[in-house]
């Protein structure tokens, strides 16, 4: 009896071809990585240069000068402050609002499902277009929000055109667009919590407030942290809403990092400063995203019951 008779196709394959397969499959991802890394490297290079497109003759390495200049540059500090304020306020507001709405919608019912579908709509609206919508709504001639403000007694409430209320206006747009995102995450989190602990608590007569603080909130905390970091990373880089609304104005009231860098690049053609600004922003997001990835990995392990 031969081996082939019993084992019809014992075809052998080389170990090499098996180990290469995953690399081949992930080649596109690798290419994208490289596609990002090359411009990134270029940006690092630019940020170390004295480089204005309008003055090509004056181009040259100036090493850390662009960065050092920031220390004495009030515009930079303004940018940092505006960006952090914007990010902080939007995240806190959206988190509180999102959590509240998620709790409201936690129970599966026809009404709740309908509402959560409706809430998808702002999230699916392009932020730049959302900004335009609010621009129309806050128009001093016919804007409905301006009209409401009049009714409320604010005669000349100028929304994004006034330095006092510009930040509030863009935050309002951000809250409108992105609260549903947090809501969806937290709702998914809430609904994925096991029901039995809550049944046990109900049966044992544990007060609802105590249930919320000692059980619900701690169990939800990984989701909350994830949602908050996600939003924080996006929000600190906000461009679309602010650019579409005021292009950073009035004055420098809304000069967040990316808007400032964009205008530096295209209007004052100061490539070096623009790149340095973006590097600072990248450093901030890198630290934040590191925290995020660590949390995310832990969360994933917990979700799979490994922790």
């Amino acid at each position: 009896m031969s081996v082939q008779a019993d084992m019809p196709v014992m075809r052998r394959s080389s170990r090499l071809s098996r180990t290469m397969l995953p690399y081949l499959l992930s080649l596109p991802a690798l290419l994208v990585c490289i596609g990002i890394l090359i411009p990134f490297g270029t940006a690092v290079y630019y940020s170390l240069q004295r480089y204005r497109m309008s003055q090509p003759w004056n181009r040259g390495m100036n090493w850390g000068e662009n960065y050092l200049n920031f220390f004495t540059d009030p515009d930079f500090w303004n940018t940092l402050q505006v960006s952090l304020t914007y990010a902080g306020l939007t995240v806190v507001l959206e988190l509180l609002l999102g959590l509240g709405i998620a709790l409201l919608l936690q129970k599966r019912s026809r009404v709740n499902n309908f509402v959560s579908i409706m809430l998808l709509m702002p999230l699916m609206t392009a932020p730049a277009l959302a900004a335009l919508m609010f621009k129309l709504m806050t128009n001093s001639n016919f804007g409905i929000l301006s009209y409401f403000m009049q009714l409320a007694g604010f005669q000349d409430f100028r929304w994004a055109s006034s330095p006092d209320t510009a930040l509030l206006t863009v935050i309002l747009v951000d809250v409108w667009v992105y609260t549903p995102f947090i809501m969806i995450l937290l709702l998914a989190g809430l609904r994925s919590l096991p029901t039995q602990p809550f049944e046990a608590a109900a049966l044992d007569g544990v007060p609802r407030l105590e249930q919320f603080w000692r059980i619900t909130l701690p169990m939800l905390s990984p989701y909350i942290l994830t949602a908050a970091l996600f939003r924080l990373l996006d929000s600190i880089q906000q461009f679309d809403i602010i650019y579409a609304m005021t292009q950073g104005g009035p004055g420098d009231k809304l000069m967040v990092f990316q808007v400032e860098a964009y205008l530096n690049f295209f209007q004052s053609t100061n490539v070096g400063r623009s790149a340095a600004l973006l590097m600072i922003l990248w450093a901030i997001t890198y630290v934040l995203s590191n925290i995020f990835v660590k949390n995310w990995l832990r969360l994933r392990e917990r979700a799979r019951g490994e922790a």
Partner: protein, 285 residues
């Protein structure tokens, strides 16, 4: 069982109504506006009583904007077409490239896979301008500036990571035993991928594709930096249109409605997939 007190029930209903009002009102109002003429829009106090008109939409579709003073030609329909080409093209390319890679990440813990994954993830959060600004210079020298191909290529920065992360999550949810069973039954890896992994991850791939489409559609900054007027999608086009059309508020509203309608309708149509994809995209990556 429901054990809610009547007071709680009422408070919840009121809160829910306020939530719906806040989030739905802007869309509702902009749609109303798009159906009015400038005269009714500018009335004070604003009123719901008006005869709806489709003139604004007609003007945009026809590409001619007639005002009291003069008439000008606009190309908003061109922007719409650009949006379609860019979004569909980007998603298609991202799916072709991303799904096999997602499978590799999910099934093979190979050397360097975590590094690639981490790099992609950390760049998911890098400032887009950081990559875009140097790219404008490269694109000019490569001849990709202001081409669909160039833009679709850059759009992979949004679409590919999204698809990778979401689809990978779905692949990971398929029990490896099911694939092992198919292999042991005598099928090669590609047959297993095609006949088992792909169909079972189908909903996930659909969700990721839809989300990628919406994100591509809603993207603003890429085209703002890299495209000139004839290649711009609606997000950038609408901004230019606001400036160009002056005080034709009805037309502006109509243009916005036409720009957001595709994603909103898609969201309504596929809301289950989207919610799943969004949550998975966040929780699993």
């Amino acid at each position: 069982m429901d054990h809610m007190s009547p007071l709680e029930r009422i408070l919840r209903a009121v809160a829910l109504a306020l939530v719906v009002l806040f989030f739905m009102f802007p869309i509702f109002w902009i749609v109303l506006m798009s159906l009015q003429t400038n005269e009714t829009i500018l009335r004070s106090p604003p009123s719901m009583a008006f005869v709806p008109t489709f003139k604004n939409y007609a003007a945009i579709i026809a590409g001619r904007l007639d005002s009291n003073v003069a008439s000008m030609s606009i190309q908003f329909m061109g922007n719409l077409m650009n949006s379609v080409i860019l979004s569909v093209g980007s998603v298609a390319l991202a799916l072709v490239l991303g799904v096999p890679a997602a499978y590799a990440f999910a099934r093979h813990k190979f050397k360097g896979s975590e590094d690639i994954a981490f790099t992609l993830l950390s760049f998911r959060f890098a400032p887009p301008l950081l990559v875009l600004l140097p790219l404008t210079l490269y694109f000019q020298s490569l001849g990709l500036a202001n081409t669909y191909v160039g833009l679709i290529w850059v759009y992979q920065l949004i679409c590919l990571p999204l698809i990778l992360w979401i689809v990978r999550g779905y692949f990971e949810d398929i029990s490896p035993d099911i694939e092992h069973a198919y292999r042991i039954a005598g099928h090669g890896w590609f047959a297993t991928f095609r006949k088992i992994a792909l169909p079972l991850a189908g909903p996930g791939i659909a969700a990721a594709g839809l989300l990628a489409f919406i994100f591509a559609w809603n993207n603003f900054v890429f085209a703002l930096v890299l495209a000139s007027a004839d290649k711009q999608p609606v997000t950038v086009g609408a901004l230019a249109f606001v400036t160009a059309s002056g005080i034709q508020y009805g037309q502006i509203a109509a243009a916005i409605v036409m720009s957001i309608a595709p994603t909103l309708l898609l969201a309504l149509w596929a809301q289950k997939y989207l919610v799943e994809g969004l949550s998975l995209g966040a929780v699993k990556g």
